[in-house]
Symmetry: C2
Subunit: 487 residues, 2 copies
């Protein structure tokens, strides 16, 4: 089926048709990537750092056009999209800085005592091979063609094949063109980053290809799991680094209601729920509040969500899944539901505030499904015992947030349980707005991501695409230069 852009504000398709990559196209792309990868290895880290910087400059130079195009395909708004281009080019520059230091190579040397002559063992990180990147729907720049996974893989010295998200094919094509032209200009193969369009079929061909060594993915748990399963069944399995769905529980301890109070908390968290039409993997999806504050807090939250600007979801499919998920949760026994007014056009979707008590959350798995869009579930909790049980049943998440005094029983209980289940703990804040800094960890125990050990944000993301190679008793002139003078 051909792929075309659709304006989420109107639901009307526009622009050129893109065809799904078939077996021959995937075969050609992998063969080209393998050659590009060899060239990248010859060029070495300084050339890669230069290419990353040049790509950042080229994207910044076209920011205005890129933002306008992406807004027609995603309705995310020009302010947010302009910020996202900045984040994307910032990521490229951060990886360039890292690559220039060589720290990511983690060179090490050990002299083995006892031998005559003593044995000399050295190791250094090398690229894993060709990387397939699956672009996300909700970040047309930062988790797409020139996004974090691509930047990390390129920085590691890997050639990249990106499968565009069908929600923004023109933006993807435009960014890929800028990248290829830039690579060519700095003397690297333009095929170092290639773009394919398509859905499940193209994705499966890519993940199943013996020439692909690793996969980066950002999307739903179901989508990530399908790729992970496929990769695990290969004759030679490969890792899929999938950043998946997350409920991002927020605990509002009794002391938080004595402190900031219900309205202030609702304003802060409601803003995080509606931002980007609620289409963030870090959207706070489940808010655990003391049972006696549940009603007031839900009312305050409805006040915030009821006055938020109308939301347009990214694609028809996302809107359909959102409506279905909200309807299913709202129809679950023990759940009280509120829906905002329905925007009439395109992929418009009304906000939702659902509410239940702790036993319903624990009993009904339907209440623990991600609502990808501007919806939130408020859960009334009676005591720390119920709090502990509720958090346990919410399982692996990208983030966990706690509002409350450090002396509050709820605060310590929540932090204790969440520490074992999430990748990032937030105190008195909101989980959205992931800072792109070296100390960030963006990943978490399953189902939040396929590997709790890996981050898809920050420069540590490069390590997904590197592997160590040891050299034993090598003459200096046969060693990689970074190992040659190490002692």
């Amino acid at each position: 089926m051909p792929i075309r852009s659709v304006d989420p504000r109107s639901g009307v398709a526009f622009g050129p048709e893109f065809t799904e990559a078939d077996e021959a196209e995937v075969e050609t792309a992998v063969a080209r990537a393998a050659r590009a990868q060899d060239a990248l290895g010859q060029a070495g880290p300084p050339a890669i750092a230069a290419a990353l910087r040049a790509a950042a400059e080229a994207l910044d130079a076209e920011r205005g056009d890129l933002v306008a195009l992406a807004d027609t395909e995603t309705a995310l708004g020009t302010a947010r999209l302009a910020g996202e281009v900045g984040r994307t080019t910032g990521q490229l520059r951060a990886f360039a800085d890292l690559v220039a230091t060589g720290a990511h190579l983690r060179p090490a040397v050990s002299v083995v005592p006892g031998g005559a002559p003593a044995r000399d063992v050295r190791k250094i990180n090398v690229p894993v091979g060709v990387v397939a990147v699956f672009a996300a729907s909700n970040f047309p720049f930062a988790f797409s063609v020139a996004g974090g996974d691509t930047a990390a893989a390129l920085a590691a010295g890997c050639a990249v094949i990106v499968k565009a998200h069908y929600g923004h094919p023109q933006t993807s094509q435009r960014v890929a063109g800028i990248l290829s032209a830039t690579l060519d200009r700095v003397g690297l193969p333009p095929d170092t980053v290639q773009l394919l369009h398509g859905g499940t079929t193209a994705g499966q061909l890519l993940v199943g290809h013996p020439g692909v060594a690793a996969v980066g993915f950002t999307g739903s748990t179901a989508g990530g799991r399908a790729l992970t399963d496929l990769a695990a069944r290969r004759p030679a399995p490969i890792p899929v680094y999938a950043e998946q769905g997350s409920l991002n529980p927020v605990v509002l301890a009794p002391s938080a209601f004595r402190g900031p109070g219900s309205r202030a908390l609702a304003a802060q968290l409601g803003g995080a729920v509606t931002m980007g039409a609620g289409q963030f993997c870090t959207k706070p999806g489940v808010l655990l509040v003391p049972a006696d504050h549940r009603e007031e807090f839900s009312r305050d939250l409805i006040g915030v969500l009821g006055t938020a600007p109308p939301a347009h979801l990214l694609t028809a499919k996302i809107r359909e899944q959102y409506e279905q998920a909200v309807a299913t949760a709202a129809a679950t026994p023990g759940v009280t539901g509120w829906r905002g007014g329905q925007p009439g056009t395109g992929f418009g979707a009304a906000a939702a505030v659902l509410s239940c008590d702790q036993p319903a959350l624990v009993a009904e798995s339907a209440l623990r499904e991600e609502l990808f869009g501007p919806a939130v579930l408020v859960v009334g909790v009676r005591d720390v015992g119920e709090l502990r049980a509720a958090l346990r049943v919410l399982g692996g998440n990208l983030t966990g947030t706690v509002h409350g005094d450090p002396s509050d029983d709820w605060t310590l209980t929540a932090l204790g349980v969440l520490a074992g289940q999430v990748g990032r703990l937030i105190y008195q804040g909101v989980p959205t707005g992931v800072a792109v800094v070296p100390a960030m960890h963006h990943g978490g125990p399953y189902p939040a991501s396929s590997s709790a050990r890996e981050t898809s944000v920050g420069t540590d993301a490069i390590h997904r695409f590197l592997r160590p190679l040891a050299f034993q008793d090598f003459p200096a002139d046969l060693l990689p230069s970074a190992l040659r003078h190490l002692s």
Copy 2:
């Protein structure tokens, strides 16, 4: 089926019967491990370092008895086994030293500019959870109950459940007793390391249990793959770090025959083939030599293997598989075979030198199966084109070794191809005798291991059992101590 020790020198069973762990026993072990893990977290790194050191001392103190017992179960010989205990306690001490520095926690802090107040993000490594360790047949100490995987997991702060290898149940039981007593003595739960006996059923129960967070395995490719597949099919998949089979190709370039010469090379490599009855994952299994040296070199190798002491394999099953694999390879078209004299008793196995030319190796996958035991395949190669193709078809391996002048075409070609396919390159040496040092990498692209990124030897092995946890905007007194004073 009950498990009993068998003397490989006689084939006679001896000692107590051990029963395979059933569902209830696995359930109990996991519940105890979870509690022990909590206690370990409370105790913190200094207590863990002290426990690792105390365990090393206790094992060293009983070295004589342990070696004698293990020799009756494995026939590996007391000298080798005494060395292996030393390696095992050395590993425990190396992890203790690392844990004492705190370097494995990789604490990091980033202040996010722009906010008011600026956001503060910190991260640190935390234990992944309960770890299951599958002991190896061929290292009754160093890759068994108190071996590298257990030491790495404990050092990371994880409780461990070891599935003993059925080849040395008494040694396993004895070591587990020493560990538990030591843990108890230093004030940690004796259940921090638990031992289960059993085969496939117990193993599957363990890997399938939701309370197990990661798996360490050393053994065959088939065994590792079975566990990896099982872990990937769980509702919440977990990583299996499997160190599997390997052919460890060795290239002898034409210049090596002009230098050391055929006899010296045969002595060096033949020693590595017969050491430990050829039961090493790093045994050189395929030797690639110039076609015109194939006959002479094979003869020299037969001279070395023909005078080696009789080999007793570890178990009846290993002996059976060895005989079958050698027979299959010997019966493959184009293969010339030599078998040493047959030792008459127990699990005795004759050495084998098989030989073929490059086209046979490329055409017949049967020649690319690991021969776990004292057997080796010599392959005659006509030119660098054949060399490149032969190495490519040998695929992922733990190691690759090259003998030859740096100026030799063969040397550079071999190193270039092997660099993309192995975890460790050895120049002019043998792949056996893995040095336990920080710069060692013991792992390689599939099928050598399940994750080319991880090592199962050296202190970097700890990172398989750690995951990052980020803290955003935390007050100092709620932070882990290692993050509190970081700026």
